[in-house]
Amino acid sequence: MAIWNREKDGPTEDQVLNVLKRVQDPDLHKDIVTLGFIRNLKVTDGNVAFDMNLTTPACPVKDQMRDEAVALVKGLSGVQNVDVKMTAEVRQTPQMDRTALKNVKNIVAVGSGKGGVGKSTVAVNIAASLVLDGAVVGLLDGDIYGPTMPIMLGITEAPKSINNRMIPQESAGLRFMSMGLLVKADQPLIWRGPMAHRALQQCLFDVEWGNLDYLIVDLPPGTGDIHLTLAQQVPLTGAVIVSTPQDVGLQISMKTLRMFQQTRVPILGIVENMSYYICPHCNSRDHIFGEGGAKRTAAALDIPFLGEVPLDVAIRQQSDAGAPIVVARPESESAKNLREISRRVAAQVSIRSYATLPELDVE
């Protein structure tokens, strides 16, 4: 056979799949063919085209896996062109039958042991980052007594309701719900536990969340009613712990961590907030609360360290102005760190979504 003819034939589909099996997903520890990421493979003469369908649009190693795959396929004899389309389909964590939330694929709680560590700021920015990466995201302000989401997202109007179900407000491309939307800003909620429990239930189950890839729940500080309600009512994909580098903050975060462990909520990792201060005048860095505290704790407890967020005036300004920094100042160091953190969260969620609940055969 003439040489030109052989080149025109190109590789077979099996040859392409075989070589793609060498690409590993570093988080899921399996190759991309076994994981079923390769879709619509077409080999026409020397032109190879396929979709790479990942488990999250916010995959932190998306580019790396694509480049690796392209290089390997190009290495096959007779390949002229490789055309890869990156797609994503977020996997659903095994859910109990809760009709209202059945189209919510993953529920992620963001918690901390004490107040004022920037939980809500981190939660809002993780949610907004996932939106920027192309995911459909909801955000529930679980802080019934001290809701801050309406300020951070710049919307305070009460949600509309249709057929007795509330329609979440939308800002920064995400759907959100907060007690702050239902109660006047200066009006305190003086409720006992059971009322808070009911309020959270309503925010979860009586809100028209629709189809969501991720529902991020911003928890109030500590280990109380709201946490228990959430851990008991929904199968959480996992929890993110926010802490400052300071020892006391960390020790208290440990309580939250133990609570999640006792109720078997997987810990997706620790985010260290206020890691260092960037001086707005000279750009120098100061580790006001000590350095590397959360990272050391994460390593000691064998849980993922998700990243550091600086103590940055711009984050506070943007939060007060009602636009998350990842949206308003995407070029800033803080925004870049938060984007990376959200991708690491998404990667951890993908890993956890392969977990299973016990099978229930009780009818």
């Binding site: 008991q232 929904v234 199968p235 959480l236 109720t263 078997r264 016990p358 055969d361």
Partner: protein
């Protein structure tokens, strides 16, 4: 902490009054509704402070049945019993601890 011994893989209702739990370590536990009801861990069946039992299995008729069995989050089971009691949350650890098979009873 969750281990294979305290992680159920399947919960099956064998009869109206008996469930079977298969655990990730391969063990099998069978629980009768009257016994679980009699050892209910809720605050009205067991003193919150002292842990002393208010309700004991001897107080429960043998004919008691399960009305409803549900998961609680990812860590426990909840039962509604035929005497209308249903406030106990049975953690997987507790359910394994209560296993009365010859091997565990030893």
């Amino acid at each position: 902490m969750a281990t294979d011994a305290t992680t159920p893989t399947k919960i099956k209702k064998l009869t109206p009054g008996e469930i079977q739990i298969l655990w990730a370590d391969g063990h099998e536990t069978r629980h009768l509704a009257p016994l679980l009801r009699g050892l209910c861990p809720c605050a009205s069946c067991q003193d919150e402070m002292t842990g002393q039992r208010v309700i004991l299995p001897i107080h429960i008729p043998d004919s008691l049945e399960f009305r409803k069995i549900e998961l609680v989050g990812q860590y426990a089971l909840h039962f509604d019993f035929s005497d209308n009691h249903g406030t106990g949350i049975y953690s997987f650890e507790y359910l394994r601890e209560l296993c009365r098979c010859p091997q565990c009873a030893r």
